[in-house]
């Protein structure tokens, strides 16, 4: 009891040193567990979602970029393909194509232009409001709605992509009609809208005042200025139209859900030609490869963690040793006052026990917090 009292008093007196030792100790204990938790969570989340996505159609190139962009809405995105690629899947009658345009963002969330099939395909249900129905409407993922404190009736504005390009992408106000139930997947961090709305954001479709007007005498004149609408309303929705061939409109990727195994095999066969600018990938295969690589890196990370842990323990030991060296006069006084032979050992043990206990409690707290928020953390990590 006396040893604990003195140890606690000393640790409190040297609180800054004690705090550093506790933090370092806690990190040494917590980091391997947190890493394992996040790795396991990432593996589960990646694998689960990849396995729930049969095939992804996209531009030839990095399969990983294609899958990460189409399945997890990450920053890594493949080159866009055209709507003609989606039409080709429709025309084949071998599977259901679900278009994805993930080129734009709003308030740090990815705008996913897609079709209503996506919601059925992912099993997404509305927590409040209604599904998007017309151009300019959007449905929020649960986390986005919570983070931005938005709900049905509110609006979000797409982020301008290039401020100084007169022919570029301009912000479009999206009317929020519903909020999705949380799923613990990247869908929670997305803003869903119809793919046509994404094309309006891209500037392919737009609405504006009449180009020509006729006065009372029937004289037809051209407008001096044409004002493009930044908001789609019941009054101006009819003026929205698209330019160019529909088959050339851009898509980031197309999720393809084959009607059966045979259809899937046939479809995959059609995109094997390396000269074909479009490829069809199986996300579960791509992610399996990624997870395998991650775990190989994790093994290296574990080794590094062990080395750093040993170095940190050495530093802690040195710090304690130096602290005890500084306390030599106190120990001499204690000896003169009749301290027992093992008093110093008891004091040192008590101090280490207190530091270790605090570090363990802190480490347990860190691990608990990470475990409790594992899904969100994994989703956040995967978003990069």
């Amino acid at each position: 009891m006396n040893a604990l009292f003195l140890a606690f008093a000393h640790l409190r007196w040297t609180w800054a040193r004690s705090l550093v030792l506790i933090l370092v100790g806690a990190l040494i204990l917590a980091v391997p567990m947190v890493t394992q938790t996040l790795l396991r969570g990432s593996e589960d989340a990646l694998t689960r979602r990849a396995e729930a996505t049969p095939l992804v159609l996209g531009a030839r190139g990095s399969q990983l970029d294609l899958v990460m962009g189409a399945v997890y809405f990450s920053e890594d995105r493949a080159q866009p393909i055209t709507r003609a690629a989606e039409d080709a899947v429709w025309d084949s009658g071998l599977g259901l194509p679900i278009p994805l345009n993930t080129a734009f963002q709003t308030n740090g969330a990815r705008i996913v232009g897609t079709s209503l099939d996506y919601f059925d395909f992912r099993g997404l249900t509305l927590a409040e409001g209604r599904q998007m129905a017309i151009l300019g409407e959007a449905v929020l993922g649960a986390d986005v709605a919570q983070r931005l404190a938005l709900g049905p009736g509110d609006t979000v504005v797409s982020a301008p992509e290039n401020l100084f390009d007169l022919d570029g992408v301009y912000p479009l106000e999206l009317q929020i009609t519903g909020v999705l139930e949380p799923t613990g997947t990247p869908d929670d961090e997305a803003v869903f809208t119809d793919v046509k709305t994404a094309w309006v954001i891209a500037g392919i479709g737009h609405g504006h005042d009449d180009v020509v007007t006729a006065d009372a005498d029937g004289n037809v004149t051209a407008n001096a200025a044409i004002t493009e609408f930044q908001r789609i309303t019941p009054e101006n929705i009819d003026s929205f139209h698209f330019h160019g061939a529909a088959g050339g409109y851009p898509l980031s990727a197309v999720i393809v859900a084959p009607y059966d195994t045979r259809s899937g095999t046939i479809l995959r066969g059609r995109y094997l030609d390396p000269e074909n600018p479009v490829q069809l990938t199986d996300p579960s295969e791509v992610i399996a490869g990624l997870v395998d690589r991650i775990f190989r890196i994790a093994a290296l990370l574990d080794a590094v963690t062990v080395i750093i842990g040993i170095a940190a323990l050495g530093a802690i030991g040195l710090s304690l040793f130096l602290a005890w060296s500084l306390r030599a006069p106190e120990m001499q006084t204690a000896r003169r006052l009749g301290a027992g032979r093992f008093t110093i050992l008891r004091l040192a043990t008590a101090e280490i026990a207190i530091l270790l206990s605090c570090a363990m409690v802190l480490a347990a707290g860190i691990v608990l917090v990470v475990n409790a928020n594992g899904d969100q953390l994994v989703a956040w990590l995967l978003a990069f």
């Binding site: 003195l6 007196w13 106190e330 204690a334 003169r336 006052l337 009749g338 027992g340 032979r341």
Partner: protein, 224 residues
């Protein structure tokens, strides 16, 4: 209180040897020890406190034969019978004044800290004039206040013998007098014997007896 005969003690590596032919100090006596540096005054205090074992001779302190006690026995003897006061005060920096007074009960073998001890510490602090500084840490106390805390710490176990090693060496003349007043008054209250090493000749008249350390090597003690 102290009876020593033909004590010898040597630090072979340092080439130092202590030789005390006879030393007798009565209970309640206040004895000052003077002598040049390096003659073994502190070593004598260490022998009397049981911190070191004489090589030869007889040494009895407070009816304990120190030459017959083992290490644990000497530690218990020291915790119960000896109060130490040092020139550098030797207070524990991370404890406040009150906890410094109680420090022997935190580390001393065989001592139990209870409510009576705490009350005694409070009373000692009041008697030494530092009751208002009990929550302060040593770095916030003046030299005189620190030495008062050290005196309280030396007296808290109600020892039979107080050993003071240059206890006023770091204090100004005025504070020296006050500290010695406090030490002697509290020691007298408890009936404790005081054996103090000092270089301060101005303080010698305050002692019942002064021993010139050089004379201890002689068959008889020289008294003032």
């Amino acid at each position: 209180m102290i009876h020593a005969r033909d004590l010898t003690f040597a630090y072979p590596r340092a080439g130092f040897a202590l030789n005390v032919s006879a030393l007798d100090v009565a209970k309640g006596e206040r004895v000052g020890i003077i002598g040049p540096s390096g003659t073994g005054k502190t070593t004598l205090l260490n022998l009397v406190a049981g911190l070191a074992q004489p090589d030869t001779g007889a040494l009895k302190v407070a009816d304990h034969d120190l030459t017959a006690l083992d290490d644990g026995g000497r530690r218990r003897f020291r915790a119960a019978q000896i109060g130490f006061i040092f020139q550098t005060f030797a207070l524990v920096d991370y404890l406040n004044a009150f906890e410094n007074i109680l420090y022997p009960y935190r580390v001393g073998l065989g001592l139990t800290l209870d409510r009576d001890v705490r009350n005694r510490a409070q009373a000692l602090a009041e008697a030494c004039g530092i009751a208002h500084r009990l929550k302060s840490h040593p770095n916030a106390l003046s030299g005189g206040e620190q030495q008062r805390v050290a005196i309280c710490r030396a007296l808290i176990t109600q020892p039979g013998l107080i050993l003071a090693d240059e206890a006023t060496g770091n204090l100004d003349p005025e504070t020296k007098e006050v500290i010695l007043d406090v030490l002697f008054a509290r020691a007298a209250e408890q009936g404790a014997t005081v054996l103090a090493v000092t270089h301060d000749h101005d303080l010698l008249p305050r002692f019942d007896r002064v021993i010139d350390f050089a004379t201890l090597r002689q068959p008889a003690e020289q008294t003032s």
